[in-house]
């Protein structure tokens, strides 16, 4: 069974999470594409809180004894996915940053080289 107290706790926690996520999206600090899993996490918990039957069904389906554990497990799995998404993001960002640095470095050298050639040319004309 899920107690009313647990229902209220999960509901409030999900509400708080959704509040911060939506505020982040609206203010532009959080891109929607990165917020989807967060929204999903908040919504799932919201559903568990409002319809405990859903949590009970899931509990039986997964062969777990306590409904609260089913709620935890679901949240943890989504949280892991979120972390994986972050790791992938940070890896690609690092690669992109490195590419930029390499391009910049080569361009900088080319500009330096061109400047020297221009200087030489203008000196010759004088």
């Amino acid at each position: 069974m899920i107690t009313l107290k647990l229902q209220i706790t999960v509901f409030l926690a999900a509400l708080l999470l959704l509040f911060f996520v939506i505020r982040g999206i609206r203010s532009g600090h959080l891109q929607l594409k990165h917020a989807l899993l967060w929204l999903f996490l908040g919504l799932i918990n919201m559903i568990f809180a409002v319809f405990p039957g859903a949590a009970l069904y899931l509990t039986q389906l997964m062969g777990i004894e306590l409904p609260v554990n089913a709620i935890f497990l679901t949240s943890i799995v989504i949280a892991y996915l979120l972390i994986l998404q972050l790791s992938i993001n940070s890896s690609t960002n690092e690669l992109k940053k490195r590419k930029l640095a390499q391009k910049l470095t080569i361009l900088e050298e080319e500009v330096r080289d061109l400047k020297q050639q221009v200087e030489k040319l203008s000196k010759n004309k004088l």
């Binding site: 490195r98 640095a101 470095t105 080569i106 900088e108 050298e109």
Partner: protein, 238 residues
């Protein structure tokens, strides 16, 4: 044949000047490129004092792989036929550059590795025992995965023709890249040979690889070689 000497440099102010002078004293009229990888000492000033040296100056410390790759990208863009890469710490004797040049000119292989462990030539600085064990292990792992025995798979004294310059400009492995770079050349169908070299102790400064790093090195390189086994000659970087 237009040949570029490529030297990655991160905080090597104590040795890089000497190394550059040694290369100049070869009188081979070689173009020299140093890629300064965000040095915090006065390496950059030491290099810039020598007018015959081209300098690429990375905006932050990107690591050895990205540094070397920047050099290959520059070499490719500037139509060099071959690159000879040396470490900035002076371990690789410029006196051996002519041997690399000769191998390149005779097209003996696409990639030539300066090796300190060739059977006929086990002299000079052989590194510390734990590292030699690591190298022994890598030698066999690479043999298993690529079918070719490379006696010195961690050597940074490597020269390449234009084909390999292109492969490396497109993709070059990032940290501790040498064994993976060998794997890549094999995956692209390149020919590799080793020629003997007599490595010296670094001229100055300390090695950048600590004991903890060695452990990470061991795991990282093994995993990378196994994970990327059978991969095609990819040109995709990101």
């Amino acid at each position: 044949m237009r040949v570029l000497i490529l030297i990655p440099c991160h905080n090597e102010s104590a040795s890089i000047g000497l190394l550059l002078d040694e290369i100049k004293d070869l009188h081979q009229n070689l173009d020299v490129l140093v890629i300064n990888d965000g040095s915090t000492d006065d390496s950059l000033e030491v290099i810039r004092k020598r007018a015959y040296v081209k300098v690429l100056n990375l905006p932050y410390n990107t690591g050895i792989g990205a540094t070397v790759q920047t050099g290959f990208q520059w070499a490719f863009k500037n139509d060099y036929d071959a690159v000879i890469r040396l470490d900035g710490d002076g371990q690789h004797p410029p006196a051996d550059i002519p041997a690399h040049l000769q191998a390149l000119e005779q097209d003996q292989a696409d990639m030539i590795i300066g090796s300190r462990f060739l059977k006929t030539h086990n002299i000079g600085y052989q590194s510390t025992l734990p590292r030699r064990l690591g190298i022994y292990y890598l030698r066999h792992l690479l043999k298993l995965l690529t079918g070719q025995r490379i006696f010195d798979p961690t050597s940074g004294f490597v020269s390449c023709n234009r084909k390999v310059i292109r492969w490396f400009a497109e993709y070059y492995p990032y940290d501790y890249p040498e064994p993976e770079a060998i794997q890549r050349v094999k995956q692209c169908g390149g020919r590799i040979i080793e020629i003997p070299t007599t490595m010296r102790k670094r001229l100055a400064g300390k090695s950048k690889i600590s004991t903890a790093d060695s452990f990470y090195y061991f795991i990282k390189v093994s995993l990378a070689l196994i994970m990327f086994h059978g991969r095609k000659c990819s040109t995709r970087d990101i």
